[in-house]
Amino acid sequence: MWPKEFDYVRASSVDDAIQQTSDNTDAKILAGGHSLLPAMKLRLSEPGKLVDISRLADLKGISANGTLSIGAMSTHAEIAASADVQQYCASLATACGMVGDHQVRNFGTLGGNIAHADPASDPPTVLVAAGATIHIKRSRGERSVSAEDFFIDLFTTDLEDGEVITRIEVPNLSGHKAAYVKMPHPASRYAIVGVAVILEMDGDTCKSARVAVGGATVSAMRASGAESALSGSSLDDAALNAAASAVQSDISDALMGDVSYPESYRQAMSGVYLKRAVKAALG
C-alpha cells in the first residue's frame, strides 16, 4: 500500500508548525503517525505535506502540580506508565494502555489520538468523563476547550486548521473512584463500547458521578442521565439498573454500529458496561 506522494518537514517549533499549516490547507500535522499514515496508505487521507511535531520538546512531558498536565506528544506508553497519571487519573493510564498494540502505544501520542478523534478509541472517553481541558495554540494565541466540547462527531473535533494541541490538562481525581472498561472488537480491539465512570464517594453514597461513553457513539460523549441516576444513590442494584437504562437513552441519538455489532447491540451493551465500570471503580 502506497500513500500519494507528499512532502515532509520537521517543524522547528510549535509556532513553526502553526505557520506551516496555516499557510497551506493541504498540510497536515504529523504526530505519532499511527492513525494518519494508515489512512494515507489506504488513500483515505491525501495530504500534500506533513509537518512533523513529534520531536518538539515543548509538547512532551507529564507533570502533576495541582492538575495533571500531559504534553500532547506524550506517547500512550509513557502515559500508561506514568506514576503521576496513575495517581491523578488512573483510568486514563488504563485507557492509554489499551490502545492498539505495543508499537502503536510506543509511537502513538495522546495529542494525535484526540485530534484524530476515532470514536472507538479509548482515551477520549476517559478525558470526557474526567473533565479534561484541551489546550490549543494558534497564530492568534492560545485557547482551551473542554474535552466534552472538543469531540464533535466522527473524526471531527473543535480543532481548526492552523491550530496545534499543546497539552491536555486533567483534574486531580485521586480522591475519586474511577474506571474505564470496554468490550473490544475481536478484530481491531477498538471499543465496541467503552464506558468511563468517575465517582465522588461519601462513605457508601455516590455524591456525584461523571459518566462518558465511546465506541457505541459517533464521538466520546457524556451520559448525563446515567450521572443523575448514580448521583446521590448508594450504587445499589436499583441505582445501577436505573443508570444502565439511562445511559442507553443518553446515547440513543448518537449511536454508531457496524454489520457485526449493530447500534442496538452496542446500546444494550452500554448499560452492561456502565454497571461493570461502576463495579470496577468500587473495586
Binding site: M1, M183, P186, V259
Partner: protein
C-alpha cells in the same frame, strides 16, 4: 526400523529463515526491467462498462501502460482463473477491469486511482435467495459456465447480442444434484424423534498472512513464460497458464516461491492474467495483491444454507436424514454442494436419506477451496443435530454418536464401503478424557463442554520424486511439491529413514516444473500420503544403487551389506567400510565404472485413507454480552503415523484455531448492493493469540495401508469439528442452540433472549 528420523519431533527446515525474515517471497523478488501491476477493479456488483478512460493514468510519471481487455487476446471466461479483464460487463465488486503497469509500486497505485470508468449499473443478485427468485436478473444469460471451454461462459463478455436471451431457459441455479437411499418419508413417519432446523454458514476467507503473489517473465523466443508464484500447485499453474496463453505446457516454467500461507486459496487465480500481461508488454510483470484486494477479489469459502431434518428411534438409532444444501458460489459454481451432501450422509450411515444440493451463482467473487471445503458446515449441522437429539432422548451425546458413527465397511453415501479409518476410536478417546468427564461434574459457572467429530476422506494424486547422492555423502531429494506445512522437512525425514542415514545428511530441494518430476498440488491432505510414498521409494532405490556399487567393491552380496553412520559395511564387520561420499565419487568421476546414484520413486496410490479428529471444547459464556470464550480445546486426531509429531501438532493447532474463527468470528459481509463490508482485518476477525484457546493435541495412530510408515493426511480434519464442538458447548452452558455461524456475541445474546422468552 525407526532408527533415524521417523516419529522424531524435527523443527521445520524453513522455520529459521521465515522467523528471521530471510525468506524471499514473491513480493521480495525483483527482476531487471520488472513492472509492477496494480488492478483497477469494479465498484459495482453488476454493471455494463461503457467507457474506460486511461488518459489521466497514462500521464502519471513512471506509468508504462494501462492494459484493458482490448489489449489482451480473448480468453473464454469459463472459470475463475480464466476471467481475465472485464470486457463489457462486470459481475462482482472487485472484478478486474484494467491493470496499470508501472516502474514503481507507488506510480502504479497513483495511476490506478486515475483510471476512470463509466458504468451503467445493472440489477445485481447478492444473496442466494435473490439468485433463485422468479424474476431474478440472470448473471450468465447464455448459461452458467461449468468448466473449461463451456460455451455459456461467453456471457461474461456480453455485448448487445444477448439482450434478447430468454431468461426462462436459464437461471442462476448452476446445478441441482439429488441423491437418496431407502424411504425417507416412511422413516421419518416412523421416527420417535424428528429434529428440523435451517443452518447457515457464511463466506469465510482463507486469510493467509501472505497475499496472492505472481511474477511472470516472458520468453520472446518460445512465446512462453517463466513464473514465480506463491502457489500450492506449480504443475497446475503450468497447465492453466499454457492453456490461456496458447503455448505447450513445456514452454511454461513455474517456480513455486516460498508460501506464506495458502489454505486452499492458492490453487490458481491470477497467474494466467499476469502471464498475458507479461507477454503483452514484453517485460517481467509482478502482481502482489493488497490485503483489501485479497479480501475483495480472490476465492473464499462459499456461504451455505442447510435445511436439515433427521429422524431417530428412542434408543438413539439414526433412521433418516433429509437434507437440502444451498450453496452460494459467487459468479462461478464450484460444485461443492453435492460433495457436502455426500459427506452429510456418509459420516453417520443411515438406511434412509435424501439429499438435494443446489449450487447458485450470485454477483460476488467466486468461491474456492478453504481447508476441508464445506466440511466444517457439514459437521456443524450433523453434530449439533445429534447433540440435540441426545439431549432430547436423554442419552449421552457421545454414546449416541458412537452408536451411529461410521465404522470401516459401513456404507458411504455412494454405497461403497468406508475404508479403514478411526472415527470411532477418536470418539472413544473423548470419553476417556478428563475434560469430557468434567462435563457432568465440576464445571465452573457459566461454562459448558461439548464435543464433535469430523473427518476427511483424504486426497490422492500421482507423483514422483528423485534422490541423488552427492560426493559429500549428502542424499539430495528433489520434488515439485511446494513447501507448505512442513512437507519438505518430512520428506527429508522419510528419505533418511528409507535410505538409512542421519536426517542432517539429507537435503530436500524444491525444483521447478522443468526440473522436477510431476507432483500434485499440496492440498487435500494428500502430500505426505502420496508424495511421501514417492520419496520413500526413491530413497529405497537410491540405497539399492549404493549397495550394488559397494557390493562390487567389497566383492560381497548386496544382502550382506548395511549402511551404518554414513558408511557401507559388510554386516557385522565394521573394520572395513566405504563412505557414502566415496561411493558417490566413484560414480561421478572421469573414467569411472559405476553409474551415478540417481533414483526415481513413483506412486499412484488409489486407496484413500480418511482421517478423523474429535474435539472437546470448554467455553465460558458471558450471559450479559453473549461473548463466548473458548477456555479449553482438546483435539484428538488419528494421524496414521506421526512422521514428525512437532509439525503434526502444529498443523492440528492451526486448524483448530481456524475452527474457532469459523465458530465465533469470521464472516465476509456484503451489503444489499454487493459491496464488501469486511474489506480489512480491522473488520474481518482472524483469530489470534487473544482468541485462541489453550490447545491440547492428542495423536492416535491407526496406520494407513498405503501411506509411508502408515501415515495419513493431517491437514483437513482439525478444522472440521471445532464449530460444532463449540456450539455444543454453548448449548451445554446455556441451553441455547445456535444454527448460524459465526456465533458472535450479538447472536448468542439474541439466542439467550429468545430462549428465556
Amino acid at each position: 526400523m525407526e532408527n533415524f528420523a521417523v516419529g522424531k519431533p524435527t523443527p521445520l527446515l524453513d522455520g529459521q529463515a521465515k522467523v528471521s525474515g530471510q525468506t524471499r517471497y514473491v513480493g521480495d523478488l525483483k527482476m531487471r526491467g520488472m513492472l509492477h501491476a496494480r488492478l483497477v477493479v469494479s465498484v459495482y456488483a453488476h454493471a455494463n462498462v461503457k467507457r474506460i478512460d486511461t488518459s489521466e493514468a497514462l500521464a502519471v510519471s513512471g506509468v508504462h501502460s494501462v492494459i484493458t481487455a482490448a489489449d489482451l487476446p480473448y480468453v473464454t471466461p469459463s472459470s475463475r482463473n480464466k476471467l481475465m479483464l472485464a470486457r463489457d460487463r462486470v459481475l462482482f465488486v472487485g472484478h478486474p477491469i484494467a491493470v496499470v503497469l508501472a516502474e514503481t509500486e507507488a506510480a502504479a497505485a497513483d495511476a490506478a486511482e486515475k483510471v476512470h470508468i463509466d458504468y451503467e449499473p445493472l440489477a445485481a443478485v447478492v444473496t442466494m435467495d435473490e439468485a433463485m427468485a422468479e424474476d431474478a436478473p440472470i448473471i450468465w444469460p447464455t448459461g452458467v459456465p461449468s468448466g473449461a471451454g463451456d460455451e455459456g461462459a461467453h456471457g461474461a463478455d456480453v455485448g448487445g447480442d444477448e439482450k434478447g436471451t430468454d431468461k426462462k431457459t436459464h437461471s442462476n441455479i448452476a446445478d441441482v444434484a439429488q441423491s437418496s437411499r431407502g424411504d425417507v418419508e416412511k422413516a421419518l413417519a416412523e421416527a420417535d424423534l424428528i429434529l428440523e432446523h435451517t443452518y447457515t454458514t457464511p463466506m469465510v476467507h482463507q486469510s493467509s498472512i501472505e497475499t496472492q503473489g505472481v511474477m511472470a517473465q516472458p520468453d520472446s523466443i518460445t512465446g512462453g513464460v517463466t513464473m514465480w508464484v506463491s502457489t500450492q500447485t506449480p504443475f497446475g499453474i503450468r497447465n492453466d497458464v499454457a492453456g490461456v496463453i496458447g503455448v505447450p505446457e513445456s514452454d511454461v516454467r513455474v517456480h513455486a516461491a516460498p508460501v506464506g500461507g495458502a489454505f486452499g486459496a492458492k490453487f490458481g487465480l491470477y497467474e494466467p492474467l499476469v502471464a498475458l500481461l507479461a507477454k503483452a508488454v514484453g517485460r517481467t510483470v509482478r502482481l502482489i495483491l493488497t490485503r483489501n484486494e485479497e479480501l475483495l477479489t480472490t476465492n473464499p469459502a462459499p456461504p451455505m444454507r442447510v435445511d436439515a431434518k433427521i429422524g431417530l428411534k428412542t434408543d438413539g438409532t439414526l433412521t433418516a436424514i433429509d437434507i437440502h444444501v444451498t450453496l452460494d458460489s459467487g459468479i462461478y459454481p464450484s460444485g461443492l454442494g453435492s460433495f457436502s451432501a455426500y459427506m452429510m450422509t456418509s459420516f453417520y450411515p443411515v438406511s434412509n436419506y435424501r439429499t438435494i444440493a443446489t449450487n447458485v451463482v450470485t454477483n460476488k467473487q467466486s468461491d474456492g477451496a478453504y481447508r476441508a471445503p464445506t466440511a466444517p458446515t457439514v459437521i456443524f449441522v450433523l453434530d449439533t443435530l445429534l447433540d440435540e437429539a441426545a439431549e432430547k432422548l436423554g442419552i449421552n451425546p457421545l454414546e449416541l454418536k458412537m452408536k451411529n458413527c461410521a465404522k470401516p465397511g459401513d456404507l458411504l453415501a455412494n454405497d461403497k464401503p468406508w475404508p479403514k479409518m478411526g472415527m470411532q476410536e477418536t470418539i472413544e478417546q473423548v470419553k476417556a478424557h478428563p475434560l469430557w468427564q468434567k462435563r457432568n461434574n465440576g464445571k465452573a459457572k457459566g461454562h459448558g463442554i461439548g464435543m464433535a467429530v469430523g473427518g476427511w476422506m483424504g486426497g490422492i494424486e500421482p507423483g514422483a520424486a528423485v534422490c541423488k547422492l552427492n560426493r559429500d555423502g549428502i542424499l539430495q531429494v528433489q520434488t515439485g511439491s511446494a513447501d507448505l506445512t512442513g512437507v519438505h522437512t518430512v520428506f527429508g525425514q522419510l528419505a533418511a529413514e528409507a535410505f538409512g542415514i542421519a536426517p542432517d545428511k539429507v537435503r530436500v530441494v524444491y525444483s521447478d516444473t522443468d526440473s522436477a518430476p510431476y507432483a500434485g498440488g499440496v492440498g487435500g491432505s494428500k502430500t505426505l500420503y502420496t508424495m511421501g510414498s514417492a520419496v520413500v521409494r526413491a530413497a529405497q532405490e537410491a540405497r539399492k544403487q549404493v549397495l550394488e556399487i559397494a557390493a562390487e567393491e567389497f566383492e560381497a552380496a548386496v544382502d550382506d551389506l548395511e549402511i551404518v553412520d554414513g558408511k557401507v559395511q559388510v554386516k557385522g564387520v565394521p573394520e572395513k567400510t566405504i563412505e557414502l561420499g566415496a561411493i558417490a565419487s566413484k560414480a561421478m568421476t572421469f573414467g569411472g565404472k559405476y553409474p551415478p546414484i540417481h533414483a526415481n520413486g513413483r506412486q499412484a496410490i488409489t486407496a484413500q485413507s480418511p482421517g478423523f479428529a474429535a474435539q472437546i471444547a470448554e467455553v465460558a459464556v458471558d450471559e450479559e454480552t453473549g461473548e463466548v470464550r473458548v477456555v479449553n480445546l482438546v483435539i484428538i486426531q488419528d494421524v496414521g503415523k506421526a512422521i514428525n509429531p512437532l509439525i503434526v501438532e502444529g498443523q492440528i493447532q492451526g486448524g483448530a484455531v481456524q475452527g474457532i474463527g469459523w465458530a465465533l468470528y469470521e464472516q465476509m459481509h456484503y451489503d444489499e448492493s454487493g459491496q464488501l463490508l469486511s474489506g480489512s482485518w480491522m473488520d474481518y476477525t482472524v483469530p489470534d493469540a487473544v482468541q485462541a484457546a489453550p490447545l491440547e493435541t492428542i495423536l492416535i495412530e491407526i496406520p494407513s495401508d498405503a501411506g509411508p510408515f502408515g501415515a495419513k493426511g493431517v491437514g483437513e480434519p482439525p478444522v472440521i469439528p471445532t464449530a460444532a464442538a463449540i456450539a455444543n458447548a454453548i448449548a451445554d452452558a446455556t441451553g441455547a442452540r445456535l444454527t448460524d455461524l459465526p456465533m458472535t456475541a450479538p447472536r448468542v445474546l439474541q439466542a439467550l433472549t429468545d430462549k428465556s422468552s
